[in-house]
Symmetry: C2
Subunit: 400 residues, 2 copies
């Protein structure tokens, strides 16, 4: 697997993207398009929130007909959620306008939105924006900007692998937390690849990968109404169609996992108000799901997050979160290390000189917490960020 630093969402063969300012936000780009010049196998996962944004309803409808799509239309600045029947009609109108522009069947188009909840969409501006989007652009940058809100950086990854003698590219882009009108940390992730892959298998693979990547990050524990991760695979690379029995399937799995994991870490590191990226690795669990749950509880604990903002290696809070994760553990056999410094062994404190041993590693931007349960052989990882004054400031501010 080769990491392509110069690559982006429009690097896989046959993918084109654009983004521009339609007027939903004051100045920044707020509408984006991904277009594949041939039909692409498409799979998507959505928020588990019972309140789902109108675009999710429309995307689900498109993918219910068949797993083939050729375009994604996305806007930022308005989530189009809790907007009643008009909201659903607006999302269908976005799909119809995009399909007409690109001369595609309507169910070859998917829709995503992120932004403020409960405010009707300014549909004329959106339709005007769709009309102006250029489906022949292939630099990727406009699209990457159009999905951002107050994210401090573009979150993009691109890798290539060789399959059946062909170069296959897998690229992804995500937006994380932080909005001009902060409402919630909507996560949107879009992955393009020119791999040829079976549709049902792509769906399965996406779900497996998401469980260990996007679903393992938390900024504040609040699951948005508009979360969506979507992958389009258009087969333009010319490899033999990927399925469970393909001899090089592990390479593709690894590439997809790498893209999702890197995007997840970028989202966590750019969480609202974040000053640190925190990674929690849980080992020695009876089941992978146990390990992932504990890792996520630790990285999601306000007390743990605030401690690391204060550069305090307060492992009592880590122990506490492990204990309330809801997974049976043995409270006498837990080891904890913070960025390589063991602070707890068999659930008893290790005598260290905090100022000498621990303080230096706590000053780093990246913090790793290793938890060994000594129960079994399964492992899991989660990512998050610290809890800062800035987080409170961003989210206590008025929407206007």
């Amino acid at each position: 697997m080769q990491i392509r630093h110069e690559g982006h969402i429009a690097t896989p063969l046959g993918f084109y993207t654009d983004g521009l300012h339609a007027g939903l936000k004051r100045f920044k780009k707020d509408i984006g398009l991904i277009y594949s010049d041939v039909p692409a196998q498409t799979a998507a996962v959505y928020t588990q929130n019972y309140f789902k944004g109108a675009p999710i309803t429309v995307t689900q409808a498109s993918l219910a007909t068949s797993s083939l799509t050729q375009a994604l239309i996305v806007n930022s600045g308005n989530a189009n959620t809790c907007t009643g029947k008009k909201g659903i009609a607006d999302a269908y109108a976005m799909r119809a306008a995009t399909a007409a522009k690109l001369q595609l069947p309507v169910d070859y188009v998917t829709v995503a939105s992120t932004g403020v909840i409960g405010v009707p969409l300014n549909l004329p501006r959106v339709l005007d924006g769709i009309a102006q989007l250029d489906e022949t652009q292939s630099n990727g940058h406009g699209f990457q900007e159009a999905i951002l809100t107050t994210d401090k950086a573009v979150k993009s990854v691109c890798v290539t692998i060789e399959l059946d003698g062909q170069t296959v590219t897998v690229a992804g882009v995500a937006k994380g937390s932080g909005m001009i009108n902060p409402n919630m940390a909507t996560l949107l992730g879009f992955i393009t690849t020119d791999a040829a892959i079976e549709g049902v298998y792509l769906d399965k693979l996406l779900r497996q990968t998401i469980e260990r990547s996007f679903n393992q990050i938390t900024i504040d524990g609040d699951t948005s109404t508009n979360d969506m991760v979507l992958v389009m695979a258009n087969g333009r690379a010319g490899n033999d169609i990927l399925c469970a029995n393909h001899p090089q399937i592990l390479q593709f799995k690894a590439a997809l996992m790498y893209v999702c994991e890197q995007l997840s870490k970028k989202v966590a590191a750019d969480g609202e108000g974040a000053t640190k990226l925190i990674e929690v690795n849980v080992t020695g669990a009876l089941q992978q799901t146990d390990a992932r749950l504990i890792a996520k509880k630790v990285v999601g604990s306000n007390l743990v997050k605030a401690a690391f903002f204060g550069e305090d290696g307060n492992w009592g809070r880590i122990i506490d979160a492990i204990g309330y994760a809801g997974v049976p553990i043995n409270p006498d056999t837990v080891d904890i290390a913070i960025s390589g410094v063991t602070v707890l062994k068999n659930s008893e404190p290790v005598i260290i000189d905090e100022a000498r041993d621990l303080t230096p590693v706590l000053k780093a931007h990246d913090i790793t917490i290793a938890v060994e349960l000594h129960l079994g052989n399964e492992a899991g990882t989660a990512w998050g960020c610290d809890l800062s004054y800035e987080y409170v400031k961003i989210n206590a501010a008025y929407r206007t």
Copy 2:
């Protein structure tokens, strides 16, 4: 039911309390005693955290022998948790010293601790403190202070009811979040009553009451290792023994519920860094447990909490938390009112003048969020506080 503003934990007949400075904290009182001059039916509930403080092990051992006790010994300033075999031995030593001093069987004594995790207890100071405690004091104040840490106020409630022609007193005291060495928001609650009541029934009643009071508050979602609520009922009021068939049982239930609910609200209002008390009432649910879960998710959401700190009626965040609570709801039938101002009706925004209608109620200290699901007839309430800069400051500070 009469509210007794002058009453306290030592007001029920036959109860005596004391508290003093043993030297675990720098200056403040840190050891306390509740003593009943006759054996009291005793019930307790403990943290669900897999890591339990050593005192919980000892209290469970005392109550495993019989449900009768006569004394509770409690220290603040050290949680005696993750302190290995020495920690367990220390907690047993606290019990033994208290029993010897009061000439009681050891299993007539229960033990509680709150404070920093993973630091060995200074047992000589604790034993010295126990020796100095005065079991003839009945003003309640020393004890109430001894369990506090950085709590800004004593949390105490006292009520009386008439049962079988006798005055029965129910009193309670609690400590909440905030410590000199902030580690977690340990909750301790102690309730005394001179009611005569069957032991097994008292246990059942405590569990029922806790589900709708203490278990419905959250400051930061972190369940401590040392949480404990304990009730002692010594029968000195002379009423007929309370059981499920007692003709006035509803009065006693109401008194116990009132005491627990008031203590819960006091703990929530005094959460670390809190500037507001937030109450969430969910109605129209299919089950009480559903309503309670949704209420607790809303009041526990960082985004909701930060919004109210900023006096922003950002109901999109309330909707979001309702939707991810894990309880099936109908996303088209939800009403939301904030302190009496309806902002959402059948899941669609109500047009209001925010500055005129909403801003004034958001400036109040007490905020009430009413959520009507329109699914059934069950209800539930939860209490919490806002998320402020001060919360981050308290919890980002070094332990020393």
